[in-house]
């Protein structure tokens, strides 16, 4: 059946056979998404626990190593993610109100912020790699190891925590690009915007993780 169009000109969505109606599907998917968020919290948990444990054991070394991090870039990234969370909310509201242009506009802002975050991350990583500050056994910045023998461990944790987070940001950008295509084809209207809502939740979660990562890694040092 060709894409039949509903009243406001958005593509008709038919809920799967085992759901009573669109609302039933929407709230079931949302329930499933929250369960996915729950699983994500526990997925990040071991890294945070490892960080707390080693910060407690090697306090000075971690203080010294953390001091080398550039907190300004961290702050910029925090602001970027907060703005992107905001634009995602505006995108969802736009879809709920059937304002397709607003939706597309905000999706583009979000993707821009996402790339911005990755670029800042790339700058940070390259500066670290430049002066040999690498995780674990790869560390070859003798001065740093001289001053803080546990610096390799700190940077292992730093690269893994921010790396895993950056991976989630990249996945987010991919999803928003897919949503942008759907928006262009007017598939996300007031009657059906589930993928947008769920990706929004995912994105806010990614922002949430960074809200905790930023002070833990960059500031408390």
């Amino acid at each position: 059946m060709a894409g039949s169009v509903d009243t406001e000109g958005f593509k008709e969505h038919h809920p799967a056979h085992h759901f009573k109606d669109a609302d039933h599907e929407f709230f079931t998917v949302k329930n499933g998404m929250w369960l996915f968020m729950l699983q994500e919290i526990l997925f990040f948990a071991p890294l945070f626990v490892a960080y707390f444990t080693f910060k407690f054991i090697y306090f000075e070394d971690f203080q010294y190593s953390a001091a080398k991090l550039d907190w300004k870039l961290g702050a910029v990234n925090t602001v970027i993610l907060i703005v992107s969370s905001f634009t995602v909310v505006r995108a969802v509201v736009a879809a709920q109100r059937g304002n397709n242009e607003g939706l597309i506009e905000n999706l583009i802002y979000t993707i821009i912020c996402g790339f911005g975050f990755m670029i800042v991350k790339a700058i940070e990583y390259s500066s670290k790699i430049a002066d040999g500050v690498l995780p674990g056994a790869w560390m070859n910045n003798a001065a740093l190891v001289e001053a803080a023998p546990q610096a390799p461990l700190f940077y292992s944790l730093y690269f893994m925590m921010t790396g895993l987070h950056a991976l989630h940001v990249a996945v987010g950008i991919g999803l928003f690009a897919w949503l942008l295509l759907k928006a262009k084809r007017r598939e996300l209207g007031p009657k059906y915007y589930t993928p947008l809502e769920m990706t929004g939740l995912y994105w806010h979660f990614v922002d949430l993780v960074w809200i905790y990562l930023f002070p833990l890694l960059y500031l408390v040092g």
Partner: protein, 532 residues
């Protein structure tokens, strides 16, 4: 999906292999899981028999040290990740849960199929390690050994990582299903206890498995990039790995036992023609076990150098797991009181479950006792304990469930006498295999030894003989079940006269589960009289 033609079942409509490989139907996915799980169960069993054969004599005669280490590693990994975790939830649960809820399918059918193919990918990777040098770390992957050994451990870590996601997706799917797809009139109080058990298992799967995923990824990173978190030379701490690993692995043992309890909760009332004793307490007990399970993992680490204070805390909290378990066992026995007990195959397996699981549970309390565990840790006492609760508990629970729902799966009955015979054979073989291991444990025979001091010879030989009796029992079961699959006598839609929703549909059910809209009018166990 429109209604399937009259008289067709999920097995023969829609037709063709492709319709099976890309099916979204929870019943077909359940059967595919069942086939995969049974296949890996026999593969794991072969490794178990090889180990028992090697241990027949103190000296090394069948396998070299490395081969033996790989044998018990594969026995462990296959049995844990590829058999006993998906066994009841994914195989039987996938089929039965939506039917019990009167739903047409699970909440996210595509995720359900993805979960199965992730499971297949994980098993292919796990088996592939055999051709890249095998794995000899044990299923626990303790560092620093797992980060140093030159075997194909990195590939196995990826396999277990991937298998974790299959488990998470199944858990997530079932929780959403129970939340949102219950039949009208079916509140939380009307849910069959099997649904409660599967729900609690899914909670653990969603909450604990991610931690395993990341932990194994960290070990793989340690092997590949030397990040140093678990490597003492680089400042890391191996005990930290044990904390991470057991934070998942203890709840994982409840992922294994809770579904079995769920099955027994269904079987005993139906074959005693009496409602389950203390439904509310039983549901609360299931959920209680699932929650306390998260705060007890340290009892695996009493001798690892964990501080005395934390040892004490973990020992204390582990005691509280025994209370709900006790409630359940006593309630099962109370259910039989003044009932009318039918000794069909599922009930025989339920009796076998009760007999073996109680011994397993009580020795668990012994191991939770801080002072006692110092002697018993990592000896054959522990091996006997977890086989009593895993093989005795989960496997007998699975067999009870398999026989109980077999008519609903395939619409055919099995040879009842042979079923009871195989159950008895397995029960005897099981006890001959694992009860001597309790004594070996008291005498101090350590785990994972490929050769032992001659004092332990007699008991090990007895244990090896028992293991072959178990194998005999399972081959017998394979025989009559295969026969029943092809030539079994037709079974009606409700051969056991049970009252849960799945028995109101046909056997085997049509593609859309019910040819009418099921409504729940009575509790799951309101047995009013004799089996009519």
């Amino acid at each position: 999906m429109h209604h399937s033609p009259e008289g067709t079942t999920y097995l023969n409509y829609p037709k063709g292999l492709m319709s099976w490989l890309v099916t979204l139907d929870h019943k077909r996915i359940g059967m595919m899981y069942l086939a995969s799980v049974l296949f890996f169960f026999f593969v794991g069993g072969v490794f178990a028999l090889t180990i028992r054969l090697e241990l027949f004599t103190p000296e090394q005669n069948l396998l070299t040290a490395d081969q033996y280490n790989q044998a018990f590693t594969y026995h462990g990994v296959i049995m844990v990740f590829l058999v006993i975790i998906p066994m009841i939830p994914a195989a039987i649960g996938n089929f039965v849960l939506p039917l019990m809820l009167g739903a047409k399918d699970v909440a996210f059918p595509r995720m359900n199929l993805a979960s199965y193919y992730i499971f297949v990918a994980a098993s292919v990777m796990a088996v592939a390690t055999m051709f890249f040098g095998g794995v000899d770390t044990g299923w626990t992957f303790y560092t620093p050994y797992s980060t140093q050994t030159q075997t194909a451990t990195t590939l196995m870590l990826c396999a277990a990582f991937v298998a974790g996601f299959s488990s998470i997706f199944t858990g997530l799917n079932f929780m959403a299903t129970v939340h949102k797809l219950r039949a009208p009139g079916q509140g939380w109080g009307q849910l069959p206890l099997f649904v409660w058990a599967i729900y609690a298992t899914s909670v653990i799967q969603v909450l604990a498995t991610p931690v395993l995923g990341l932990t194994l990824a960290l070990v793989a990173l340690e092997r590949v990039a030397g990040v140093g978190i678990f490597d003492p030379a680089l400042g890391g701490d191996p005990v930290l790995f044990q904390h991470f690993f057991w934070f998942y692995s203890h709840p994982a043992v409840y992922i294994m036992i809770l579904p079995a309890m769920g099955v027994i909760n269904e079987v005993i009332p139906v074959f005693s023609r009496k409602p389950i004793f203390g439904y509310k307490a039983m549901a609360a007990a299931i959920f209680g076990i699932a929650l306390v399970a998260f705060a007890v993992w340290g009892h695996h680490m009493f001798t690892s150098g964990q501080t005395a204070l934390v040892n004490m805390l973990f020992s204390l909290i582990t005691m509280f797991v025994a209370v709900p378990t006790g409630i359940k066992v006593f309630s099962w026995i109370a259910t039989m009181y003044k009932g009318s007990i039918h000794f069909d195959a599922p009930m025989i397996y339920a009796f076998a479950f009760l007999f073996v699981f109680v011994i397993g549970g009580l020795t668990g309390v012994v191991l939770a006792t801080l002072g006692a565990d110092i002697h018993f840790h990592d000896t054959y006492y522990v091996v006997a304990h977890f086989h009593y609760v895993m093989v005795g508990g989960t496997l007998f629970g699975f067999m009870a469930g398999l026989h109980y729902w077999w008519p609903k799966f395939f619409g055919k009955m099995f040879n009842s006498f042979l079923a009871k015979l195989s159950a008895v054979l397995i029960l005897i073989g099981f006890n001959v295999t694992f009860f001597p291991q309790f004594i070996l444990g008291i005498q101090g025979m350590p785990r994972r030894y490929w050769s032992y001091i001659p004092e332990f010879t007699a008991l090990n030989q007895l244990s090896t003989i028992g293991s072959f009796v178990i194998a005999l029992g399972f081959f017998l079961a394979l025989g009559y079940l295969t026969h029943s699959f092809f030539f079994g006598k037709k079974a009606g839609s409700n051969p056991w006269r049970a009252l849960t929703l799945e028995w109101e549909s046909e056997s085997p059910p049509p593609l859309e589960n019910f040819r009418f809209d099921p409504v729940v009018t009575h509790g799951p166990y309101e047995f009013k009289g004799e089996r009519v």
